[in-house]
């Protein structure tokens, strides 16, 4: 069955530290890839997405992600986190031809200490 793995359940960083959250998926075909963020008390919102083209994707608030097809990975990065980045981050995959249904990882909770 198709699945998405997020390696870290809870990450705690100090402000200005660099961030990398891992995401791997199991699907051999073409995929669309997403990172969603959920700030405390708010709805899930799109951070960035990859459909095709340049595998290095830039999103909002200084986040970026790199699609490495050979590793089935789509890791999220940010060079310097802020306290306001405290949130839960979800990686999601939409296998092409699956009618747009998203498969989510379990999420990574990021806590940034001021």
């Amino acid at each position: 069955a198709q699945s998405v793995s997020q390696h870290n359940h809870h990450v705690i960083l100090s402000e200005a530290a660099s961030l990398e959250l891992g995401c791997n998926y199991s699907y051999g075909g073409t995929v669309n890839l997403f990172w969603y963020v959920q700030y405390p008390g708010q709805h899930l919102q799109l951070l960035l997405k990859y459909f095709s083209g340049d595998p290095l994707v830039k999103g909002i608030k200084g986040f970026e992600a790199e699609f490495i097809k050979s590793k089935f990975s789509f890791n999220l990065r940010k060079p310097s986190v802020q306290w306001s980045d405290t949130a839960e981050y979800f990686c999601a995959v939409n296998p092409r031809g699956s009618q747009g249904n998203l498969i989510f990882g379990k999420g990574t909770k990021l806590s940034v200490k001021p």
């Binding site: 709805h43 799109l46 009618q99 747009g100 249904n101 998203l102 999420g107």
Partner: protein
């Protein structure tokens, strides 16, 4: 800002009661989804719809039912709530795959069945 709304935000209800969780979107999206999310777990797709009069079951079996009589409205109903139904329910919508697009999420309904 996504225009997708869920009501109620929080609901505590007794076992055996019938409940309907509301979801409405004003973006004219054809596709709508219901996900179930437990703490620390991935979002699981329980229902989706391609458009009016279309409903499909998702990857996770659920005792809930849905209807899609109008494009903008996708309510979820539990005929007889049980404690095992306690969870967070997220509604989402997206355009058809004319080019890939992302899903927009509501703020969720946190259901507690006592």
């Amino acid at each position: 800002e996504a225009d997708i709304y869920q009501t109620p935000r929080y609901l505590v209800i007794g076992t055996g009661k019938k409940i309907t969780l509301e979801c409405s979107q004003t973006m004219g999206h054809d596709k709508m989804y219901w996900y179930q999310q437990d703490p620390g777990m991935e979002l699981h797709l329980i229902h989706y719809s391609y458009g009016v009069n279309s409903t499909e079951k998702g990857d996770l079996s659920s005792e809930s039912t849905v209807s899609r009589i109008r494009t903008e409205h996708f309510p979820l109903t539990l005929e007889s709530a049980r404690p095992s139904h306690t969870s967070q329910y997220l509604c989402a919508s997206k355009h058809r795959n004319l080019g890939a697009t992302e899903a927009f999420f509501g703020q969720g309904t946190r259901l507690t069945v006592v």
